[in-house]
Symmetry: D2
Subunit: 359 residues, 4 copies
């Protein structure tokens, strides 16, 4: 397509994150155009009326939106359980799909979606692994690929959400698939991405050898009823020799602390060692200090824009996607295996076909 | 004006910085719309043809652009000597003006422009003091205004450009007005802004008591012919008791290092203590290290977007400007006084009318 | 004993670390006095002749030193395999013992030594867990004990030695007991110390529930012959609910990087986030950077002095030891269990009697 | 002298800092031996009785101490006004002298002392410019001398003492000579040391061209009666082209913040960018933060030991002093000139003979 052509988007689901996506598509992505949103909630529609151009179509029913909005692509930011059915419906309606992670908290459902995408080879489907679009993760990836770190062999990764006294996420725990799936999927995806980049994978089917997990509850003992925890660690051994050490938490007091340390034979890089909100350092009676990003959004807000821009480019210019649904499926397998290891108390091994042996 | 109405912009001058402004107006500013650019240079027009929508009007003559483009506002990013005449021409053509700093390297010309703006009370004129739109300077300002730092009394400010072996800026030194005007105007403006915010100014005419300057050449002895230096320091004493310590340099080796330390009675803040390019820290044979922003642009790129957004809001909603041409004139007086102090070897005092005594 | 009385020390083994200890005892520890050293190596004796007062007795045979030197206490800094026999011989000679870690690479030998110490209730035996004497670890401990971090629940700890192209440690691998024992014993001891301090231990016999380990070789494939690795990770689950995540490495490129992150319910502390050598930051073409401590010695040199001072005080004033041989035994059990987990590929559980089940 | 011979010291004045010096000489300096202290205050003598070996002679009269103690050297840590007479008396008693800075708050007295030292060429006299013995300043000096920073041309230096609500220093202001002399003498000495190291000094008599100073009171308006301020800035232009920008303060809220930034043509170094107390970083509701050294003593405690060690070596081995009384005199001239500039409101120039023209 020509440079001046724009990709028409409908955003499905305009809750908190969907609103941000809608604004990005509307105002910050040169080759993308917001033509519609769909959300059944009155508050969401009211927000859209207040905040978006009157030319944007408003739908309460996503299927009607798919049928009538004239969108070329959808950005799915609805609640997790709708990710899979919306993706499939969008494909059948002939739309390209950018869907928030995870495809599903259920591994088989994720697998079914991936199978379905194969029937639509002309449609692009990308899962929103936003960290892949962050300039700092990109810089680390570039350093690995240009050999500046030697061979990467170990990643320590942490996603520590700020403690929320309201207990919001707890009420949501049952639907989230648990901390490894809900919170760890980005860490797992980045480990796959950064460790594989300069390593040969002897058996492309089998990417993981073994995982081990351990979790404990610090502030949310009520999570036990959902078999979930507020602090979880894990070790993932990859077939190519790389290792991921993982720490997920819902109880950080200073802010959202999303950390990665990538070890190569010739050096290491640390991403976001200090999760600072801005370039201000304060020196007062509390010491020498800086404020942290309160949520993942302040940390990755530019990445969400680049994500849409690159997906748009991939569709308009028919280029390969930076991350595809198979990547999402592999990450889901690992997160599911970690969850199983945590619950069973045993390491989980992977078969030669690349499937976790959930015994 | 209604929310959905957009402010139509023409960008005058699309050299390196003008191109960035044009792209911001075109793609990153929801209520702004790029309708035209003007630049006499073929390369600039070619860039515009390649990079902008075909709906954007291209002009080689800025006066024709003012007359025909249908713009409501102009963003002037031409070479410095055209800032003043373009501003005046735009006002006479009924356009709002957002002009890059400085208005002029000549104090009287700046004064003339400010006088001219008074004849057009319905037109907004803002000078692009980009640091005022940076989130970190804003955070410091907010802390001062909410009393978190007590009374501000001292600012140490440094603008240290990365050393450019090509000598580009040297060739440009004659036209730049010298390092205090070219490079120090932002530091001076920020000092006025941050020091005044919680202090009473007893005599609004006289804002400065005295300035003192000293400079030396480290890598560019040829600057002597233009009475300029590549490293300059200065002290500005404000009438409200605040002090600015200033260091300007063209010879930083690690990148663009733009630093501010604001001292209040109850604490201090440091802005950009480490001029890091991103959130990556490298640990290898060179130590524990980070890369720096190479130029002011990587440091302030989001500020340039906010600058246009806020100017646009001020025009569309008829709100006060965050910074106006009088601010630019006051900063120019101080920069001129520092230049005079450096050249004369004497402190420069200010009259009760607020004019530097350039004896 | 009166303040002015000094504790007389013999240092057994004056290789690199023993020399440092001897100098500390001689010159930096007010209540300690160096009266003798013992070492069979001519180079060591020559060093002692050159560097110590002529009043210090020099022995090639440690047993003769025990019998004749008049020392009240010994500081054992010999090669690891002599730690146990020297400790036992010193006790039988009536000397207090400060012995470098580990007591032994063999768990049963460590246990035998601990049993032997019980026969000498009037003699103090301390194992040199130097990190317990470091001001930063002390500060973290103090914060935990005063409740500033809430309840501690997770420690991420890393001991990453600088890569030594000479392969020195590789030649030594067989005698070291492997990376978990040789390099991880400090991390394990600190985790026991910092996690237990504000937690009740329900079953004092059983301190650990389970350990899991994984290792890989990056630069030293030849370690395989000793069943060892140059990079190792591990997870230790303590009975009190605390968790240790461990990373040990011989391949850091920037220096000795010894890191700890202690998570409490109300906050966390990071110890040595930047392993800087001094307070100098360099900004040049390599970026904004600092040099790292090259070895553990630069990192902990003051801790080694405090260690001797506190041991001396404990003996002279008959006060409890800051760390005792039972602590060393518990750490040895965990290190041995991690080694077994790494080699067997299985988690290792602990019995109700607190013994690792090395099946 | 032979290695085993020790230099016998008397410490004159054992107030807070003198006590620290006495303990260092007694216990941390291998070749130094504390034989006596002198102090007229009963509390000081009581401290000495409680804290020092009974072999240390205690004197209320320093002249008796000089006559009877058998010391080879004195360390003078008394109140400032006694520095000069004690130095002269010690020289006449045949003692080497290590005296705390400044020699005197009066320039002529300092000059007289320096003249007096010339009569005793066999006796060493060193002024305690402790920063010259700090490992980080040393590292910066080494980098300059080995050419790693190119030619040094600018130093920004700050000594900011923690605000003391008790007003202790205010009561002391009259006797201190004012902030430039009391607090700035170290910054001035370091600038002389670091800027001269790789520069030729065309006229050794005239080291300074011009100074300019400006001060203001933030929390201590009562200082006006002593012609003093609690915040002071200054610029010193050296004859070799180097420049010092100085900031002295009594009102830092977070701790003692002693900062230096040394600019060379090929890079710069920052010393103590974060005045951290230890290697602990806290992350809690107050942000990501570290504690600062509360006073100069925590910052420089190892430097005070090295200072005595190097002075001892210089005497015992008859080696040149690292810093001598002429250095102290030159620093005093500059501090006096800054004080004059602040009070007169004018720059102060230096004569060709190197004297400040205090007109």
């Amino acid at each position: 397509m020509a440079l001046s052509q724009k990709l028409k988007y409908a955003v499905l689901g305009v809750g908190r994150m969907g609103q941000r996506h809608a604004l990005n598509v509307a105002y910050r992505t040169p080759r993308a155009e917001l033509v519609a949103i769909a959300d059944p909630k009155p508050a969401s529609l009211q927000w859209a009326t207040d905040s978006l151009s009157s030319s944007v179509g408003l739908y309460t029913d996503f299927e009607q939106c798919l049928a009538e909005s004239g969108a070329d692509a959808v950005l799915i930011a609805s609640e997790t359980k709708l990710h899979a059915p919306m993706t499939i419906a969008a494909l059948h309606a002939g739309k390209h799909v950018l869907v928030e992670k995870p495809i599903s908290i259920d591994l088989q459902t994720s697998r079914d979606v991936v199978e379905e995408t194969k029937k639509f080879p002309d449609l692009k489907v990308m899962v929103g692994f936003s960290r892949r679009f962050d300039e700092s993760y990109r810089e680390a990836y570039k350093m690995i690929n240009t050999g500046k770190l030697g061979k990467p062999h170990l990643i320590k990764s942490a996603t520590n959400d700020q403690y929320d006294p309201s207990g919001f996420f707890v009420s949501y725990a049952g639907a989230s698939g648990g901390i490894y799936i809900d919170c760890g999927i980005h860490d797992i995806d980045c480990a796959r991405w950064l460790l594989s980049s300069s390593s040969s994978i002897p058996n492309p089917l089998k990417q993981v050898t073994r995982v081990f997990a351990s979790g404990h509850n610090i502030r949310h003992p009520e999570l036990v009823k959902d078999n979930d925890v507020d602090n979880a660690v894990g070790v993932v051994e990859f077939e190519n020799g790389g290792v991921l050490m993982l720490h997920l938490s819902r109880t950080a007091m200073h802010g959202h602390d999303c950390f990665a340390e990538v070890f190569g034979t010739d050096g290491k890089v640390i991403i976001n060692g200090n999760p600072q909100l801005n370039r201000v350092e304060i020196r007062d009676v509390h010491g020498v200090r800086s404020e942290s990003t309160p949520t993942y959004y302040e940390r990755f807000k530019d990445a969400f824009v680049l994500e849409v821009n690159e997906f748009t480019d991939a569709v308009l210019d028919n280029k390969p996607l930076p991350v595809n649904s198979l990547d999402a499926l592999e990450a889901a397998k690992i997160a599911t295996a970690l969850t199983h290891s945590f619950r069973s108390g045993q390491p989980v091994y992977f078969s030669d076909e690349g499937e976790p042996l959930l015994v």
